[in-house]
């Protein structure tokens, strides 16, 4: 196991605090936990791609970053107006 994969393992455990926030509190605080989890998952996918030396896996991180951005905006828009 190289340093990239060790770092990815640490980041995997960093999702636990985000999960705690997502399952507790009011809806806006839950969205913050979701946004943090999305950013950590992007970095996790990058570390895995580099750890396995597969440049094509970077596209997963890029897709998740773009989708997490759009998804987060839709969530906060709904929270602001309708939910």
């Amino acid at each position: 196991m190289n340093t990239w994969l060790l770092g990815a393992t640490v980041l995997l455990f960093s999702l636990i605090p985000c999960g705690i926030v997502v399952f507790r509190g009011d809806p806006v605080n839950r969205v913050v936990g979701l946004e943090m989890a999305a950013m950590i998952e992007v970095l996790l996918l990058i570390l895995l791609a580099q750890g396995y030396r597969q440049v094509s896996f970077y596209d997963l991180g890029l897709a998740l970053a773009l989708l997490g951005f759009g998804g987060g905006l839709v969530f906060v828009r709904f929270l602001e107006r309708w939910l």
């Binding site: 640490v10 926030v21 969205v31 943090m36 950013m39 950590i40 992007v42 570390l47 991180g61 929270l79």
Partner: protein, 116 residues
């Protein structure tokens, strides 16, 4: 292990530990606005540290360019989402986004009316 690999490892761990500490601080803080601030180190420090680590290992290749694009998306994503989330929270609590003339504004731990 040469100096190049040591520098790469250092930047990887800077990125990972910054992200882990920010994630750990998330449930420990109670204020929404504090939580929004903890997203910034992940998007800025961690992403750029990992970008430097990739640059040190791979050089100016395809991996670096893709990571650079991801860093740009993360930095923009953090700024826009933090603002949008804070705005949504304020609109939910007060029903409007703009401040009112008689609104109490908290400045450095004490209450103050707007314009005073």
């Amino acid at each position: 292990m040469n100096g190049h690999e040591i520098a790469t490892d250092i930047f990887i761990w800077i990125g990972v530990i910054t992200a882990a500490l920010s994630a750990l601080a998330l449930p420990l803080s109670t204020e929404l606005y504090d939580r929004l601030h903890y997203m910034a180190p992940v998007a800025d420090i961690s992403a750029i540290a990992i970008l430097i680590a990739i640059l040190l290992q791979e050089g100016w290749g395809q991996a670096f360019l893709k990571m650079l694009l991801i860093c740009v998306v993360l930095v923009i994503m953090n700024a826009v989402l933090a603002h949008a989330t804070a705005r949504a929270s304020r609109v939910r609590r007060r029903g409007h986004w703009t401040s009112q003339p008689d609104e109490q504004i908290r400045i450095a731990g004490h209450q103050q009316r707007r314009g005073e």
